[in-house]
C-alpha cells in the first residue's frame, strides 16, 4: 500500500509541476466551453415549429399546407404527448396546437413555447395569424383567436451551453485518459525508466496501478472543476440540484476515466515509441471527438453512421453525463450506456494485458 501511495504521490507531483498539464486539462476545455457556449454555435438558424393537428380536417390541412410553403420555417408533426419533451430537449422552438373542433367557425389556435424563447413564440403567433387571415379573409374578426402558452422548465436558459458543457467534460475525460497516459508512459518507456523500475523488487505492475489510480483521481478533480466552471461562467444548471444525478455523474466519470486510462495504457503498452503511439492515439480520439455528440447532437448524422457511433467508447459517456446533468436521468435509464462502457473496459483490459511490452 505504501508503494502505491509513494507512486501516486510522485505521479501527482509530476503532473502538477508540468505546466502543460493544466493547460490541456483545464484551460483548453474552458476556452472551448466559453467560446462555443457564447458563440451561439449550434443554435439552429431556422426556427423550428412543431405541429399537433387534433382536427385533421380540410380547414386544418389547408392551413398547414400554407404554412409549409414558407421555407424559412422548419415544420415537424409531433404527438400531443411529446410537446414538452421536444421543447425541453430544444428540438423545437415552439409547438402549434390545432384543437379538435378547428373549422370555419372556430379558428382558434394555441402556441406553446419555452419560457426562454418568448420572442419566437410571439413571432409564430403573429405569423400564424397572418396566414390564417389570408385564408379566411371573409370571416368575422371574433372567430380568430391565437392563444400563447408559456412553459417554464427547470433547465430553462441552458440552451446550447447546457448541451455543450457535459460534452466537453466527457471529451476532457477521454483526452486526459488517453493522451495523458500515452505520452507519460511512452516517455518512461523510451527513457528506460520502466526498465529501471523492473530492476527493483516491486513489480512494474504496481507502478502501473499506482499511476492509474493517481490519474483517476486527477481526472475526477478535472471533471468537477470543469462542471463548476460551467456553472459559474456559463450560468448553467447541472443536475437540477438532484443528488442522484450527481451520483450518476460520479459513477459515469469514474467508469469513463477507467475506460480511457485502459485504452491509453493499451496504446502505450503496444507501441515501442512515440512515432507509433502518437498517430494511434490521434486515430482513436479524433473520430470520437467529431462523431460522439460532443459538440452537436449525433442524431444529425446519417442513420447508419449514428448507429455505429453510438457504440464508440465516448458516446455512452457523453450521453450519460448529458442526461444526468440536464435532466437528472436515473441510473436505471442509463443502463445501456453503462453496459457499453463496461464491455469496452473489459475489452481494453484484455487487449492491454495481452499486448503490453515493457521495452
Amino acid at each position: 500500500m505504501k508503494i502505491y501511495l509513494i507512486i501516486a504521490k510522485a505521479t501527482i507531483k509530476m503532473y502538477f509541476r508540468r505546466s502543460q498539464s493544466l493547460f490541456w486539462a483545464l484551460f483548453f476545455p474552458i476556452v472551448m466551453m466559453v467560446g462555443l457556449g457564447f458563440s451561439g454555435f449550434g443554435e439552429h438558424k431556422e426556427p423550428k415549429l412543431g405541429i399537433v393537428d387534433r382536427s385533421n380536417n380540410s380547414v386544418s390541412i389547408k392551413f398547414l399546407e400554407e404554412l409549409n410553403k414558407k421555407d424559412y420555417l422548419e415544420i415537424k408533426n409531433i404527438d400531443f404527448k411529446d410537446i414538452e419533451k421536444n421543447l425541453i430537449e430544444q428540438k423545437l422552438d415552439s409547438v402549434l396546437v390545432i384543437p379538435e373542433n378547428f373549422g370555419e367557425d372556430n379558428l382558434k389556435l394555441k402556441i406553446v413555447y419555452q419560457d426562454s424563447k418568448e420572442n419566437l413564440g410571439q413571432a409564430f403567433k403573429d405569423f400564424s395569424s397572418v396566414v390564417l387571415r389570408e385564408l379566411h379573409q371573409n370571416n368575422s374578426e371574433n372567430k380568430f383567436n391565437i392563444e400563447l402558452e408559456k412553459k417554464v422548465f427547470s433547465n430553462e436558459n441552458q440552451g446550447y451551453k447546457g448541451f455543450l458543457v457535459p460534452g466537453i467534460v466527457a471529451l476532457s475525460i477521454m483526452q486526459s485518459g488517453i493522451l495523458g497516459v500515452v505520452f507519460t508512459l511512452i516517455s518512461f518507456k523510451t527513457q528506460g525508466i520502466l526498465r529501471r523500475l523492473q530492476a527493483t523488487p516491486i513489480s512494474s505492475r504496481h507502478f502501473l496501478i499506482g499511476q492509474l489510480m493517481s490519474r483517476l483521481l486527477i481526472i475526477l478533480i478535472q471533471t468537477f472543476v470543469l462542471f463548476f466552471i460551467g456553472i459559474l461562467l456559463l450560468n448553467i444548471d447541472i443536475a437540477l440540484g438532484n443528488i442522484f444525478a450527481w451520483i450518476n455523474i460520479i459513477i459515469f466519470s469514474i467508469l469513463g476515466s477507467i475506460l480511457f486510462l485502459l485504452i491509453g495504457l493499451t496504446i502505450s503498452g503496444a507501441s515501442p515509441n512515440e512515432d507509433y503511439a502518437a498517430p494511434i492515439a490521434n486515430l482513436v480520439t479524433f473520430p470520437m471527438m467529431v462523431l460522439s455528440g460532443v459538440f452537436f447532437d449525433a442524431s444529425v448524422l446519417p442513420g447508419w453512421l449514428n448507429s455505429i457511433t453510438s457504440y464508440l467508447p465516448l458516446t455512452p459517456l457523453v450521453t450519460s453525463l448529458r442526461e444526468s446533468a440536464l435532466y437528472g436521468t436515473n441510473t436505471i435509464e442509463l443502463l445501456p450506456e453503462l453496459l457499453i462502457m463496461c464491455i469496452w473496459i473489459l475489452l481494453a483490459f484484455f487487449i492491454g494485458v495481452k499486448t503490453f511490452k515493457w521495452e
Binding site: 505504501k2 508503494i3 509513494i6 507512486i7 510522485a10 507531483k13 509530476m14 509541476r17 508540468r18 518512461f188 527513457q191 528506460g192 525508466i193 526498465r195 529501471r196 523500475l197 523492473q198 530492476a199 527493483t200 523488487p201 516491486i202
Partner: protein
C-alpha cells in the same frame, strides 16, 4: 580482499530467435572486488549483466548471487543488488531528493537520503530536477539510486560512456570509494585504461564467449611474455594528459 565467491555463473546461454547473444559463459566474482566485463559492442556484456540483474531470463545455465539463484529467486536477488543501467533516465519534475526517497520505498528500506546524495557529491543539488543535470551528475544520481538498498553487489553498465575526462576521473574516484565500503562491483566498459585502473580482474568477452579472465596486470604481462612488441611508441604523456594538464582535473558542471 577475501576470496569468498559472491557471484557464480555456470554455462550461461542466452539465445534469441536467430542469434546467440551469450554462449555458455562461466565465471566467478569474489566478494569485494571490482570485476570488469570488457568487450566490443554487441559482445554480450550487457545481456550477461541484465541476466544477473534479473531483467532477462537465460535460455539455460545457472547464475547465483550470494547463494541465490538469479532465475528462481529473482526478487530476493533484486533486494541485495544495486543497478545502474545503460541509457536509463529518471523521472523529470521530481527533485533528486524525491527520486531517491521514492526508490528507497520501492526497495522497502529507510535511508538517509542526504547522506546518499552527499556520497555521490550531489547534496547541493538535492532540490534540482533530473533534466538540467550534467551527464556526469546524471550518472552519479543513477549510482546513488543503485545504493539506496545498501546492496552487496553493484552493477555498473558503462558508467563513464559519454563523459568528459574530468567527469570520468571523478567517476573513477567514486567507484573506488564504493569499493572501499566493501561492496562488490561488476563494471562493463569500453575503456581499457579505466579497466586497468579500477578492476581487480577482468573478463574479456567477444561474440558471446569469454576469451580470457585474469587481473589486468597478469594479462599485460602474459602478452609481453609471449613476445608482443606492439607499437613501440612509448611516450611520457598522452593527449589526455595534455588535455587535463591544460584544463585541470576539476569537474566542469553547470551549477
Amino acid at each position: 580482499m577475501s576470496n569468498k565467491e559472491i557471484i557464480q555463473v555456470e554455462n550461461l546461454i542466452k539465445k534469441y530467435e536467430k542469434f546467440t547473444a551469450v554462449n555458455s559463459i562461466s565465471f566467478n566474482v569474489n566478494e569485494g572486488e571490482i570485476f570488469g566485463l570488457l568487450g566490443p559492442n554487441g559482445a554480450g556484456k550487457t545481456t550477461t549483466v541484465e541476466i544477473l540483474e534479473g531483467l532477462r531470463k537465460p535460455t539455460s545455465g545457472i547464475a547465483r548471487i550470494n547463494g541465490l539463484d538469479v532465475n528462481k529467486q529473482t526478487n530476493e536477488v533484486k533486494k541485495i543488488i544495486g543497478v545502474q543501467l545503460q541509457e536509463c533516465a529518471f523521472f523529470d519534475k521530481l527533485s533528486l531528493y524525491e527520486i531517491i526517497e521514492m526508490f528507497s520505498i520501492l526497495y522497502s528500506t529507510k535511508i538517509d537520503v542526504d547522506s546518499i546524495l552527499a556520497k555521490v557529491g550531489l547534496l547541493e543539488k538535492k532540490k534540482s530536477y533530473y533534466k538540467p543535470l550534467s551527464g556526469g551528475q546524471k550518472q552519479r544520481l543513477s549510482i546513488a539510486v543503485g545504493l539506496v538498498n545498501n546492496p552487496k553487489v553493484l552493477f555498473l553498465d558503462e558508467p563513464t560512456t559519454g563523459l568528459d575526462p574530468q567527469a570520468r576521473r571523478n567517476m573513477w574516484e567514486l567507484i573506488s570509494k564504493i569499493k572501499e565500503d566493501g561492496k562488490t562491483i561488476i563494471l562493463t566498459t569500453h575503456y581499457m585504461e579505466e579497466a586497468e585502473i579500477l578492476c581487480d580482474r577482468v573478463a574479456i568477452i567477444d561474440l558471446g564467449e569469454i576469451v580470457t579472465i585474469d587481473s589486468p596486470k597478469n594479462l599485460i604481462n602474459q602478452l609481453i611474455d609471449s613476445g608482443f612488441t606492439g607499437e613501440k611508441n612509448i611516450r611520457e604523456a598522452t593527449l589526455e594528459d595534455v588535455f587535463l594538464n591544460l584544463t585541470g582535473k576539476n569537474l566542469r558542471e553547470l551549477s
